[in-house]
């Protein structure tokens, strides 16, 4: 029995210790602030301005992000709370990232809500509860906690999507999101049930242990595992809005309140990738599950999703007229780029460390997309919100600060140096090329080439925003929502985008540390041994 499983057995037998309660401080802070909002909101008279709640929640989220930063080096026990949650640097990384993303999105929100006469405390409350779900989901060590956290993250956002009650599009977005989101949750749940049936446990590490005994396609439980794995993968693909489960994204992004869309795009992608890496690296090592259906495994599903998302997202974004819809399709394309990193890093256990490219890309994407939606929210007065490209005409010259921020965010999303987006794409494609150079898998080269070509296509519609903002005449007069919070939020996004673009070392180190720390919790000896045997068999097969 190796060290890891001894630690796990101890964690399973002992009741939660003080150190474990320290580890949940970030999520506790977020939940406490949310509960405080319920109480505070009761004592308000109708019509009292609630925008101070926004600053209150920003302070709470900043403290939560700071505490996860403080816990970064604390050397916690890995599996806490009876083996239900991992508190490693990986989960702390994502908890800090979503807290910052939510804080920036909330900072942009009050003027939009006030101008739509929906200045209610529930808005902040729901976003905070969603953040709590996200933090738990990044730490999930068991399919049970994973499912509960997924629902806690999604259900509040179904409500927030239709929060601007007078807007019929909000109602429609909320309905569509709810129906499709529930179906994907049900599919994922059915997958979890099948995995539970085949492996007899829902703990990620024990699943891997038990799968090591399912030797090949002749075993009875093998089909169950493959089907369950495909269903779980489809649930994840829905949440990151990759093809073929992407259709909800454009509708929901167009109908939802603008400030929260950036949070939806960045936060959901980040957390779902965290859970995706955890579940598929710890519970379903690629070597254990290959060979069922024509030798295909989950890496091939991810390959297909990456390829299709990059092509479809970029091509459909080109023909869009609405800027929010264009950003939605481009977020599908970004999901495709991140899946390229996922395929490259996990097609073979040796390239595990390339996963840091995904984490780094998520950081760059978060700031770019929240900045872009923050600028759109700044011009989001009720009845005269900026929606199409033509509405953007001349806004960049009239409001130079917002024009500058939008310029930086768009260049970063398109991947121009010296912004952060360039380095994000660079690391993703570099890991793909590296894998190709070492294994000579042409599939990897295909993905990278498609990625580069489609990001050239992407430059067209991102630059179109800037062309309209700076070079085209204004068709209509737009009065912005003068608000200091929005200006601060988008300024932070722009500064971080430039900072990471010019001095990326810190961000890269952090993402690498997070990925390295996650590896510590990976496989027991049995699993390791089986993986090595399978690899040896495969390399023998390839020699013949």
């Amino acid at each position: 029995m190796n060290m890891l499983s001894i630690i796990n057995v101890i964690a399973l037998l002992t009741p939660p210790q003080a150190a474990e309660y320290v580890a949940v401080v970030p999520v506790t802070i977020v939940v406490l602030v949310a509960v405080a909002f319920i109480l505070i909101d009761m004592f308000h008279r109708q019509g009292t301005p609630r925008n101070y709640l926004a600053y209150f929640s920003v302070i709470g989220l900043t403290v939560a992000a700071g505490s996860s930063w403080y816990l970064w080096d604390s050397g916690l026990e890995r599996a806490a709370f009876f083996g239900m949650l991992y508190f490693d640097q990986f989960s702390m990384f994502f908890s800090a990232l979503v807290c910052i993303a939510a804080a920036l999105a909330i900072l942009c929100s009050p003027p939009v809500l006030q101008s739509n006469r929906m200045d209610r405390g529930e808005y902040y409350l729901l976003i905070l509860l969603s953040v709590a779900g996200m933090i738990v989901m990044a730490a999930a060590a068991d399919l049970l906690t994973l499912f509960i956290a997924l629902e806690l993250m999604s259900i509040p956002i179904y409500v927030v999507a239709g929060f601007l009650r007078k807007d019929i599009r909000g109602a429609e977005a909320s309905m569509k999101y709810f129906i499709l989101g529930s179906i994907s949750a049900a599919l994922m749940l059915y997958g979890i049930a099948l995995i539970y049936g085949a492996a007899g446990t829902t703990n990620l590490e024990y699943i891997a242990n038990n799968l090591a005994y399912l030797t090949g396609a002749e075993h009875g439980g093998y089909g169950l595992v493959m089907l369950g794995m495909i269903l779980i993968m489809s649930g994840f693909i829905f949440k990151i809005a990759a093809v073929p489960f992407h259709t909800w994204a454009p509708d929901v992004y167009t109908g939802s309140p603008t400030p929260v869309v950036g949070f939806m795009a960045a936060g959901f992608k980040a957390i779902t990738f965290a859970a995706l890496l955890r579940v598929f690296l710890i519970a379903f090592p690629a070597e254990l599950l290959r060979g069922g259906f024509f030798g295909l495994g989950w890496i091939d599903i991810a390959f297909f999703a990456a390829f299709a998302s990059m092509v479809l997202g970029n091509l459909v974004a080109v023909v869009q007229d609405n800027v929010k819809r264009m950003l939605a399709y481009s977020s599908i394309a970004h999901a495709g780029y991140m899946l390229v990193g996922f395929v490259a890093a996990n097609s073979h256990p040796d390239f595990f460390l390339h996963n840091d490219a995904i984490l780094f890309y998520l950081v760059t994407y978060t700031f770019a997309v929240i900045g872009a939606f923050g600028v759109l929210a700044y011009f989001g007065r009720r009845g005269q919100a900026v929606e199409t490209y033509e509405d953007l005409g001349n806004l960049g010259l009239k409001h130079p600060f917002m024009g500058l921020v939008m310029g930086i965010c768009m260049l970063s999303a398109a991947g121009f140096p010296p912004t952060a987006g360039f380095l994000g794409k660079f690391y993703i494609f570099r890991s793909g090329v590296d894998v190709y150079a070492q294994t000579a898998e042409t599939a990897m080269l295909v993905l990278v080439v498609v990625g580069v070509v489609t990001s050239v296509v992407g430059a067209y519609y991102y630059l179109k925003v800037l062309v309209y903002m700076f070079m085209k005449p204004a068709k209509r007069e737009f009065v912005p929502l003068e608000h200091k919070g929005t200006r601060w939020a988008v300024a932070i996004c722009a500064i971080m985008t430039m900072y990471i673009g010019i001095l990326p070392a810190t961000a890269i180190d952090i993402s690498r540390d997070a990925v390295m720390d996650m590896r510590g919790a990976s496989h027991s000896e049995v699993v390791q041994q089986v993986i090595e045997e399978r690899q040896a068999e495969r390399s023998e097969d390839e020699e013949y």
Partner: protein, 111 residues
């Protein structure tokens, strides 16, 4: 009457029967979501999918003599209740705008 007990033991349901039933109910729910036009019926079909998952959890748990699956089923029930609350609120919200809950008529957001 020995043949009666023989027949009963022959028809005694096994794990596979429960799993087949669960898969059938899940498929009926999925088809219902795709085919039906009334939003309330669509939500009902989603509940059907969740409950069929419950059935397979319980049957796996009974098969293995474990409690994990039972616990999971309780969690699913709680989550399904929360989802139902949100679902009904959303239906009312849409009804106020449209005076109807036909999902075919939701065409504000397209392409």
């Amino acid at each position: 009457m020995a043949w009666v007990s023989t027949l009963i033991s022959y028809w005694e349901p096994t794990l596979a029967h429960y799993l087949l039933l669960s898969a059938a109910v899940f498929s009926i729910g999925l088809i219902g979501v795709m085919v039906r036009r009334n939003a309330l019926i669509v939500f009902m079909s989603i509940e059907l999918m969740l409950n069929s998952v419950n059935l397979s959890f319980i049957s796996f748990a009974r098969y293995r003599f474990e409690m994990d699956g039972h616990v999971f089923a309780f969690f699913i029930m709680a989550v399904a209740a929360a989802e139902a609350a949100v679902a009904l609120a959303i239906v009312i919200h849409v009804f106020r705008h449209k005076r109807g809950v036909n999902v075919d008529e939701m065409q504000e957001l397209k392409y």
